[in-house]
Amino acid sequence: MAQLDFQRVERRFPVKRGLLDMVARRDRVYLHAVRGVDLRVSPGDILGIVGESGCGKSTLARIGVGLQQSDGGQVIFDGRPLAGPDPAGRLQMVFQDPYSSLNPRITIGAQLEEVVAHYFPKLPRAKRAARVSEILAEVSLDPETALKFPHALSGGQRQRVSIARALCPAPEILVADEPVSALDASVQAQIINLLKRLNREKGLTIIFISHDMNVVCYLCDRVAVMYLGEIVELQNSQDLFGDPRHPYTRALIAAVPDVRRAQSLAEPITGEIPDPFAVPRGCRFATRCPLAETACQNPQEMLPLGGAGGVRCWKAVPSD
């Protein structure tokens, strides 16, 4: 099984300049979406990436499947730097919105057969339909689904079709970017069960991007927490949720409403994610952090925690 390895990955987007900026010879401004991300995805893992909007988790996901290039560092896949989407389709992606990611004018069967034909050109035409039925069965959809158009399916069924399409090339790694965020809770559970089953039964490696801490806690083996483009904490799921180290991780977990509690846990952290063009020096969370002090203005390195984990905070409580 091939391994995916992010090494000091950077990604920045140039911001559009106006004529005035050019006349005034102002420097080009960049938005740093991903900064120095080191992350190794082990085969058979379900790795969660969590964080609030704008933290860079989706950009990182797209870099991971080769849909976007990194500006610095590299992504090593199967021992070689990833230069674009894998021609054999071993890296696949599932998107958030199952409504816009399927072609509304083609039947489900035709969409999936097209993908099968692309990756297995030698497979006779007659056998493609059988392969599509097999894949539909893997995501618990009836073979008749192949005859339907996307509009005839419910949101949950559509998301299962999206997953089926990603499974067509028999991928090793599936990157799912907020795959359940657009779905109702009762339907979410189907998709989460499906991903878990694909992981357990077929050994599919999954990178699961989400802002929903409850879902990540349930599904993922390891979790990376991102803030303003950086990973601030990486631990296996049980440790991260049982004993979060970074003040941001703590705040994030405490802010999640729980049906069993009448109050949220801690005092809320104040403020919002800072303007990405004016990120604080040193620790990027310092402007909102209840523990912040002068030393936090120094750049923060990832401090190792047990089990290949780490935390980017010098004040993170050491384990007893």
Binding site: E52, S53, S154, G156, D184, A185, S186, V187, Q188, A189, Q190, I192, N193, K196, H211, M213, N214, V215, C217, Y218, L219, S237, A251, L252, A255, V256, P257, D258, V259, R260, R261, A262, Q263, S264, P268, I269, T270, G271, E272, I273
Partner: protein, 331 residues
């Protein structure tokens, strides 16, 4: 005395394939100083119910087709003329929409938008209105409020925009705020701040709030009482802790069981199979019966079952499952 009490509300929407009864016989009431939560999945009619209260259908071909909406001191909102209802909006009852960006005018400065609300209902000078707007922004904890008055909506973050929308809703000191998924578009740390803000407002001024959400966690965190809706009807209502800790309707039970965090990591989650029924021609009997694991032959006969008390009326915890009626006797 209830502040708002809704009886058998019916709201219909015209659609190409027929008339959809998005709200079909909904009754509930909100007490002064109470935060009342309405939960349910997409299409259950929770938003339509609340839009019907102020007839804010946003141009959709919709109408109130029955029932009464009694607001204390005003009367039946369903019977008011559009012009009379316009006086109620903002002054007695204010509405907070899900998406703060579409609720604000992108071409107008924040200050002007807030003062417009004030000056529409009160005759005061521009300067006084601006001072009032400044105070409103302070009340909702907007940082550097003087500067924000002269900002345009696009210059603010999502959380700040929602604070501005809340400030506008509070401008005329309404007795009731209807908030339709006010935190769904926000990040979880900001959601926490906004929920605390709404609660603080209630605690300080006794403003009643009807909160519509799909997130049972949010209800658990700030609501006093709640109603669970399914396919245009209320299936269970009562004090929040009772409904969430000992749900009695099979739909509420299934909804809670589907959430991650209720089972261990090695157990599978329990989704609700099937899909909600069509609101154009809903099935007879209980609307959840086709998906209900406990359904009996009696469940799919006759009109949809009404809400009835489970164990004495005192707590107000009632549900619409006929199986509970058998178990506990009719109310």
């Amino acid at each position: 005395m209830s502040l708002l009490s809704i009886h058998d509300l019916v709201a219909e929407f015209d659609s190409p394939s027929g008339i959809a009864r998005a709200v079909d016989g909904v009754s509930f009431d909100a007490q002064p100083g109470e935060i009342f939560g309405i939960v349910g999945e997409s299409g259950c009619g929770k938003s339509a119910t609340c839009r019907a209260i102020l007839r804010l259908f946003g141009g959709a071909p919709a109408r109130i087709a029955g029932g009464r909406i009694l607001l204390d001191g005003v009367g039946d909102l369903a019977a008011l003329h559009e012009r009379q209802l316009a006086q109620v909006r903002g002054r007695d009852v204010a509405f907070i929409f899900q998406d703060p960006l579409t609720a604000l005018n992108p071409t107008m400065k924040i200050g002007r938008q807030i003062t417009e609300v004030i000056r529409r209902h009160q005759t005061i000078t521009r300067a006084k209105a601006r001072a009032a707007a400044l105070q409103l922004l302070r009340d909702v904890h907007v940082t550097s409020p003087e500067r924000r008055l002269d900002s345009y909506p696009h210059e603010l973050s999502g959380g700040l925009r929602q604070r501005v929308v809340i400030a506008m809703a509070l401008a005329l000191r309404p007795r009731l705020i209807i908030a339709d998924e006010p935190t769904t578009a926000l990040d979880v740390t900001v959601q926490d701040q906004i929920l605390r803000l709404l609660k603080e407002r209630r605690d300080r001024l006794g403003t009643s709030i009807i909160l519509i959400t799909h997130d049972l966690g949010v209800v658990s965190q700030i609501c006093d009482r709640m109603a669970v809706m399914y396919a245009g009807r209320v299936v269970e209502t009562g004090p929040v802790r009772e409904v969430l800790d000992s749900p009695s309707h099979p739909y509420t039970q299934a909804l809670l069981a589907a959430l991650p965090g209720q089972v261990g990591r090695e157990q599978a989650l329990t989704p609700i199979e099937g899909a909600p029924p069509s609101l154009i021609s809903p099935p007879p009997g209980c609307r959840f019966a086709p998906r209900c694991k406990l359904a009996q032959p009696d469940c799919v006969i006759g009109p949809p079952p009404p809400l009835h008390a489970r164990d004495g009326v005192s707590s107000g915890h009632v549900d619409a499952c006929i199986l509970n009626e058998v178990a506990y006797g009719p109310a």
